[in-house]
Amino acid sequence: MSVVGEKLQPTIFERSRPGRGGGKIPHPPKHALDRIPAAARRATPPALPEVNEPEVVRHYVNLSQLNYAIDTGFYPLGSCTMKFNPKLNEWAARLPGFASLHPLAPDEIAQGTLQLLWELEGILAEVSGMRAVTLQPAAGAQGELCGILMIRAYHRSRGDTERDEVLVPDSSHGTNPATATMAGFRTITIPSAADGGVDVDAFRAALGPRTAAVMITNPSTLGLFERRIGELLDAVHAAGALAYMDGANLNAILGRFKPGEAGFDVMHFNVHKTFSTPHGGGGPGAGPVGVGERLLPFLPAPRVLRQDDGSFRLERPGERPTSIGRLRSFVGNTGVLVRAYAYLRAHGGSGLRQVSDDAVLAANYLKSRVSAAYQIPYDRPCKHEFVASAAAIKKRTGVRTLDIAKRLIDYGYHPPTIYFPLIVEEGMLIEPTETESVETLDAFADALIAIAAEADSDPDVVRDAPHTAPVRRLDEAMAARQPNLRWRGMTGAETPCPD
């Protein structure tokens, strides 16, 4: 069984009965809204559900049990680093001193949080080898936008306005080209070399006076360290461009490789990957960005500053005119950053290096076990993740990677990332992380091997999977063709309630 809940739930709207609920907020004086002009007031009340607290609680508890989660099982989800989310961190973020602090609170009453943020910037700068770090971006993708906008500002500050291209390898995350577009650049996609690495010669050929930046994920989205990264960085800088590192795969290289030392100009961190802050079913995250010397003046505002007397303050509006400005309100996803800080302090320098050592060891071990039944297209030591391919199985049996992924659900696992990166046929990207035991890794490998055998012996059982989840595969075509994106009306529903 993959999730606890067996039964789908009615919507919260279907649970509504007029007259239920209440008891939370004192009733206001009768005429409190009389001073609001009628034209500005709501004429028809919103049709929100009326549900009493016990029903609300059951609704959300029962819904939660339809979810797979780290707290219930293993996510071998490549490029996502689904490691354990420490419970202390949840406790810490909820301490009233942190949780109740208003983001516009004057600096003198926010010293605890400002100190934490300032220390966290320093820790991340040390981990990345960068000169300075901004904690403002709300997620990795916003960190990318922040980085690319700083690069744009850098070139402009030098009167270099002709650079309108960003080079990315074809194995990159989709956010890289999407970010380049948002920042007003054209994306040039460079095919990978045969060994899965960046094709340095192809990059060299594409670099020129119009190149603003290259965006590289290292280790790559194939889980491979870019061995020729030094040459590539030299070529980038020789062309007058800057180098962005997508830090999604930082979990592989803590204490082993510092992008800033190697010559990258800017990188983002995904704290919800590397530093264990919870994914929350799709967020929140936080995407701090580290920069080298060249981009320092352009960091978003406000920065956290330490004053001579040891106290901390935020930069004031307009204090640093070279800044690219702000990418969101206030200082950042501080609640997420408190969790990341706790994680980093719990590990210290030695612990962080052990994190990467164990993550890489686990990935290589799992790769060697999985290779018994799957092709490993790039067979050299991987970093924290690796790509396996079911191309041979598909050719032999017609069973696709998608089917194998869905069959894993019946075995009690979340499927790996599939069909990414796009350059591997029938690929699955598998990342075990450092917090899974050898027993878990072995059991997962056994499951993958068993499914490969099923593909030969009983392909339909794989093709029709999952069999034990609360629902079978979904009609995604109908969802897109006739979108039903909201409940309309609390009665007369077109689709019957499952109860």
């Binding site: 789908l8 007031r41 989660a69 109740s100 082993r256 994914h279 702000r326 210290g348 050299r380 909201r486």
Partner: protein, 485 residues
Amino acid sequence: MPYGPHTADDRERMLAALGIDSVDELFADIPAPLRASRLDLPEPEPELELAARLEGLAARNRTDLASFLGAGVYRHWTPAAVDQLLLRGEWYTAYTPYQPEISQGTLQSIYEYESLIAELMDLDVVSASHYDGAAATAEAALMTCRATRRQRVLVSRAVHPHYSQTTQAYFGGGLEVEEIPVVADGPEAGTTDLAALERLLADSDRPVAGVVAGQPNFYGLLEPMAEIGRVAHAAGALFVAVVEPVSLAVLAPPGAYGADIAAGEGQPLGIAPQYGGPYLGLLASTDALVRQIPGRLVGMTTDLDGKRAFVMTMRAREQDIRRDKAASNICTNQALLALAASIYVSTLGPHGLRDVATLGAARAAELEAALAAVGVGRLHPGPYLNEFAIRVPRARNVHRRLLDRGVLAGLALADVEPDDAALQDALLVCATEVTTTAEIERFAAALDDILSGRPPIGTEAGAGTDDPRARERAARSTTPTGAPR
């Protein structure tokens, strides 16, 4: 390693299976000149000591003040059920629901979120979700450019300055943002200047994609939203309303006054202030713009057996599919905060939410009266819901001195808009349902003391006598000075 499972034996076993002696061999592909210097960080900290460190840091923040600070982030009562439910591991440790068969909980919760916010907004499509109100506003502005194929957006000066600054940064790629001024004086002072808007829209060489205005606006004032929308539409522009969600229980929703897109900060819906986030960017639109809306959408469908179920849909707008042609680069969103908002709204229900908004308005009126009684009036005359600016000479100085008396007197507007001369002597204050009469009295009394030059109780006499307000008041005999001492 605090959370790792591997014993020395486990590691040996894995190394042996790989036929290597040391994990270093797995890092041999990092060229020697590029290998990292030693990580110069503190030693690992055991949980007991780390907990004490974190408690110590949290205790250095002061959250015990009587707070009248809003300016985009509001204190509210959050029913206890909200956080208890959020702490279920099945919610907060789940991944993005790319595998719908084992993510129906998250998917249905997002569909319900879309539905609840659509009801509040009176719009059709709700994206689930964006980082915060500022990013949602910037994305809304970008939507208007994509939908109209125009490149110029007008943002009211009375939209939260962080939102317009964020829009500026997001428009760094070549699109243009221009500010619509606010009316300087008279009954509409502090609201969007309609005549100026019409002039800006009249420039036919530079057609406008979208017009952005807030309701209530940053100064707490109610804007003529229907008129702004009408003027925008007459020029072929789309209309973006920036709204505060709790207010929508009592104020006209964006759909009712013709907004094409609504954006806003979802923090008031059960999310703690936590010094800036994580919050919840609300973004909604009409059906006509569904292909332009960025971010996650969940729809209802059926499984192979015809069972009702939910799935992420219209994914062809998203970055992992469309790459450089995507509607936005957004990937991670704020799913857990969207869940918090849904639980909050469901627990309060329509009547509870209305009570929250109405009681906030009542407390704010009480605050206005208490401040007026000590001679402090509003900066703008127009109607407001639960937040307004007051005129206080040397506002920043007074604000700081009120801290010593246990009062966080809102926001000195000069702190966020240092260049606006009209705002130098102004504090932006708010009240919500959690504001008490005792807090209001404390604020008014402390302000009165400072403006009259009286020292705080228990301090040296004369500590606050440099204030000109007392002199000014003495000189103007018509000023009400009869407040009870």
